[in-house]
């Protein structure tokens, strides 16, 4: 899987679509990446699309596995807290994530987003859609559909030059 190629597909989709005539938008469109991989996407897309701002959504407070895993379920929040530097109300929010699998993260992201206001519209765009949904969630755009065994996780990595790559890891236990 070539993450760079998938990123270029996503960028092309946004350039030709939502951001084609950005100055004519009646509803403001904002990017919001899900920490951590999705936030990297949002950061780079904002740069490539010439946007002045992008948001980060950390889903930790709304995860559904606190009862099972305790506070350790929310550990990533300290490194990348939710930051939405625009008014969510009446805006079109494009949620970005590296991988879509069960849909649980997206459910939590929607809850987190709505704690900040009531958007006019929310879309979801991802690099890789693995299928295997556990909730009724679908992406408006996925650069690629990927089939992997459940025992494996797909992890987006970013190098010093801001280049993306996908790594396949074995799930613990």
């Amino acid at each position: 899987m070539n993450a760079e190629a998938l990123y270029r597909d996503l960028l092309k989709h946004l350039k030709g679509g939502l951001f084609q005539n950005a100055s004519h938008q009646t509803t403001p469109v904002y990017l919001a990446g899900l920490a951590i991989g999705g936030a990297w996407l949002a950061e780079r897309l904002a740069l490539d699309l010439g946007l002045t701002q992008y948001g980060v959504i950390n889903v930790s407070f709304h995860r559904d596995d606190y009862a099972e895993k305790g506070i350790r379920a929310i550990e990533t929040a300290s490194t990348m807290p939710t930051k939405l530097p625009f008014d969510v109300n009446h805006a079109h929010i494009v949620l970005l994530d590296d991988v879509l699998l069960t849909g649980r993260t997206v459910r939590a992201a929607l809850n987190e987003l709505f704690d900040f206001g009531r958007p006019a519209k929310v879309s979801l765009m991802v690099l890789a859609d693995r299928g295997e949904r556990e909730l009724p969630v679908s992406a408006n755009f996925a650069s690629q559909t990927v089939i992997l065994p459940e025992s494996q996780i797909l992890v987006l990595e970013r190098n010093q030059d801001n280049q993306f790559s996908f790594v396949i890891e074995e799930r613990n236990k």
């Binding site: 407070f61 606190y66 305790g70 506070i71 379920a73 807290p81 206001g117």
Partner: protein
């Protein structure tokens, strides 16, 4: 008192080594303290100005019982706000109590509240170690947080104090911290000293009259590396953090210390004395504050004061502690 476990131990960790109660900062490992501070940092964002819903669902369906056997406004309120922001149900119980016949009635009270499906007890008691006895008595799925016990410990205050110091001064190991006033009766001072020592702070000064720093206490503090001073001018020099404490009249005999203006003259934090600390020193006070006794009013409201920041950070610390213990 009937105990299911040995009440002399203060075991706040469960069999897996995870924090299940918060009873004392004495002996708490550095990693655990850091973990609580870092978790609290996440919870500060719950009160971000643009977050319309300042509430997260982590403790939804859990019941937090605030058991206050001794008066408190700030601590009780911030525990209540913290529990509310975590979506827990909060039940406040103020239980006035006499110093005798507590044992049996205390445990009876606890048993009744456990039968009402309490998940977390936040306990303030005028008797030292009462929260430990409660923790030793309750079933494994119930968690106890010490909100101040006698003159023993006030761990969440200690944690919010070092959170505040770290927020403003970053590296705790390089700080000089001067604590002035009623050290003898201060559970806050004790919790702070234990936490600061663990975090590698090696310049802690305790400043107060001999009646509030008696020789046995001075000896215990010295063994922890704390320097003892009986004149503010001697101890405050070059300090990064100046913490003033309230004189706890309710815990002392008449005439034990000079009162009011007389105390202020000898030990109060005034501009001249504060000027001897570092120019960017922060001024802290755990509250409630007696202006003109331990601290000058202009300093309490001045630009070096972080007293109200302490209160705000206290909410995040209490959210962190509640969600850590309830999840373990």
């Amino acid at each position: 008192m009937i105990n299911k476990k040995n009440s002399s131990t203060t075991d706040q960790f469960n069999k897996e080594g995870k924090l299940t109660h918060l009873l004392t900062l004495e002996g708490m490992p550095k990693e655990q303290i850091l973990y609580i501070l870092n978790t609290a940092k996440q919870f500060v964002s719950v009160a971000a100005p643009n977050r319309e819903v300042k509430k997260v669902p982590l403790l939804r369906g859990k019941s937090v019982f605030n058991l206050f056997f001794e008066n408190s406004t700030r601590t009780r309120t911030t525990f209540e706000i913290a529990a509310n922001r975590l979506s827990a149900d909060v039940i406040n119980l103020d239980i006035p109590t006499s110093s005798t016949s507590k044992g049996e009635s205390l445990i009876d009270t606890i048993d009744n509240l456990v039968a009402m499906q309490a998940d977390i007890f936040v306990v303030r008691h005028n008797i030292s170690r009462a929260p430990i006895e409660i923790a030793n008595h309750v079933p494994d799925y119930v968690h106890v947080i010490n909100a101040g016990d006698g003159s023993h410990q006030h761990p969440t205050q200690g944690l919010l104090d070092i959170y505040t110091m770290r927020h403003f001064k970053k590296d705790l190991s390089k700080l000089s911290v001067a604590i002035i006033g009623d050290i003898l009766h201060s559970r806050v001072a004790k919790s702070n000293i234990h936490a600061l020592t663990t975090m590698g702070c090696n310049d802690i000064r305790a400043i107060g009259p001999e009646s509030l720093l008696p020789s046995d206490l001075a000896r215990d503090l010295s063994s922890l590396g704390v320097k003892i001073f009986h004149k503010v001018e001697d101890g405050i020099k070059g300090a990064d953090v100046v913490m003033t404490l309230r004189i706890q009249k309710e815990r002392m005999e008449q005439g034990q210390v000079p009162e009011g203006a007389a105390f202020f003259k000898q030990f109060g934090l005034n501009q001249e004395r504060l000027a001897m600390a570092k120019s960017d020193a922060i001024v802290m006070h755990p509250g409630p504050m007696n202006r003109g006794v331990e601290i000058d009013s202009t300093i309490a409201d001045g630009n070096q004061s972080v007293i109200l920041n302490q209160v705000t950070f206290g909410i995040a610390i209490r959210m962190a502690v509640m969600s850590i213990v309830a999840g373990n």
